[in-house]
């Protein structure tokens, strides 16, 4: 199918500095439509920064990012427009505390996209129902658990009908028993063919949801591999070391 080979995002030789620190050093990556890319790596390897560069939350100092052929690293990039196509879900949900669930979800569609309110509301309710939270639509974020908030944040991103969603360690702040409900939602999206870039520390999840694994260390991509291969016989020594941390051998 031609649709499956369409390249949505193309990153080439991306460079990013925080002061003297070289946070991203020559990142090159392609994302095809419908593909689920999981980015793994030790803390501080630059994986979250990479995601933030992809929707313009961080400026870059070199290299290029193309979205459907459009250069995002040149001047006069209309990020407002681009961000409607490249959604993002944050580690700490970042719902707006002064708005109800439904107001949170509809803010983007109504104000940024200026969509018809009836149509947007219908979509929002359908999506809420799918994550099992339709009954909570008039609640405020403070009345919800962490897992529920994160599911709402995913719905909020989905309701913009984006081409790609970036997930930045979305389960890292959750209590263990709530991780599952959020990962299930993301797995569901993967099955529907949503294009996603996922930064996570959940190895089992990475293995089951990812079409491929991108392993990063010290601002560079060390290897890109099929999940089965990455978790059974990683090509690089660095990845081997990284995976060993997650193994608990009996003493």
């Amino acid at each position: 199918m031609s649709e499956n080979t369409e390249i949505l995002l193309e990153v080439e030789n991306l460079q990013k500095f925080f002061g003297d620190r070289h946070v991203l050093n020559g990142i090159s990556l392609q994302v095809k439509r419908g593909e689920v890319t999981v980015i793994l790596g030790p803390s501080g390897c630059g994986k979250s920064t990479l995601l933030r560069c992809l929707n313009g939350l961080e400026p870059v100092q070199g290299g290029t990012i193309h979205y459907l052929g459009q250069n995002l690293t040149g001047e006069h990039v209309n990020w407002r427009e681009i961000r409607q196509h490249i959604g993002m879900v944050f580690q700490n949900y970042e719902l707006f505390p002064h708005m109800t669930v439904i107001e949170n979800i509809l803010l983007g569609p109504l104000k940024a996209q200026k969509r018809d309110s009836k149509e947007a509301l219908q979509q929002a309710e359908t999506l809420l129902d799918r994550v099992g939270l339709l009954a909570r639509k008039n609640d405020y974020p403070r009345q919800l658990s962490g897992g529920q908030k994160q599911r709402i944040a995913i719905v909020r991103a989905l309701c913009m009908n984006p081409d790609i969603i970036l997930f930045d360690e979305v389960t890292a702040s959750l209590d263990p028993e709530m991780v599952r409900e959020v990962l299930d939602v993301i797995l569901g999206l993967a099955n529907q063919g949503m294009t996603m870039l996922i930064v996570t520390h959940e190895m089992g999840f990475a293995r089951s949801v990812g079409d491929r694994i991108v392993f990063m260390d010290q601002g560079k991509i060390c290897e890109i591999a099929d999940p089965e291969q990455f978790f059974t016989e990683p090509a690089t020594e660095r990845a081997q070391q990284f995976l060993n941390i997650f193994e608990y051998n009996k003493l």
Partner: protein, 225 residues
């Protein structure tokens, strides 16, 4: 009960005079809060600019009002500046001037605090939805900043209402002064008058400030997340 003194409240025009005094109190407080809020918002925004010298200056201004008693400010303006500059400003104008400047300093600090405490991620979250800068401020940042500011601002308003009682000392006839006059006038005839007069003033202040206090608590409860 003979001569309890309560009737002094309703003798002649005493009650109306007390209410008139209260009106002066409310007027000074209200005008000062209005002017102080407008100046304070500007000052709060200026206190978040990168220019260090400007920030330092405004910080000193705030400290000047926190460290020096308001009474001293009233004296300095009323008894030192106006003769020195040969301008004749009434006690009431002095009071409004000093209270407005005080309000501006404190509101400025509240605005600065609210702006600085706004998590950076809230702005990013709005941006990630494709909101424009204007929309971001209008729908996400300003509503939250106002919610953070309101309890502090209302608290300040009650403090200002209470502190207006100092204006007696620069000759303004406010509710406390009217009360004193009534008591002094009837000191022989009704020695218990002070109990009733101050009792009424007590209740009047309470009636003005309590609704503000309730309002502040209501918002604090509703908006804490």
């Amino acid at each position: 009960m003979p001569n309890s003194g309560v009737e002094v409240l309703f003798e002649g025009s005493n009650f109306e005079r007390l209410l008139g005094g209260l009106l002066v109190t409310i007027e000074i407080a209200f005008i000062s809060i209005m002017i102080g809020t407008i100046l304070g918002v500007v000052m709060g925004l200026l206190r978040t600019v990168p220019t260090r010298s400007l920030r330092l200056l405004l910080r000193l201004y705030l400290e000047a009002f926190r460290i020096i008693p308001i009474l001293v400010w009233l004296y300095v303006v009323h008894f030192s500046f106006s003769p020195l500059l040969h301008i004749d400003i009434s006690g009431e104008t002095t009071a409004i001037l000093v209270f407005s400047l005080w309000g501006a300093a404190e509101i400025g600090d509240i605005v600065r605090g609210a702006l600085e405490s706004m998590p950076k991620h809230q702005a990013e979250s709005g941006k990630a939805l494709g909101l424009s800068k204007g929309q971001l401020y209008r729908y996400v940042l300003i509503p939250q900043a106002v919610r953070r500011m309101l309890p502090g601002a209302i608290n300040l308003a009650t403090r200002m209402v209470k502190t207006t009682s100092l204006v007696v000392l620069i000759g303004v006839i406010d509710v406390v002064k009217v009360g004193q006059q009534i008591i002094e006038l009837g000191v022989i005839k009704a020695p218990n008058a002070s109990f009733w007069v101050y009792g009424l003033i007590f209740i009047l202040y309470f009636l003005v400030c309590y609704p503000l206090s309730v309002l502040s608590r209501k918002y604090e409860r509703r908006w804490q997340s």
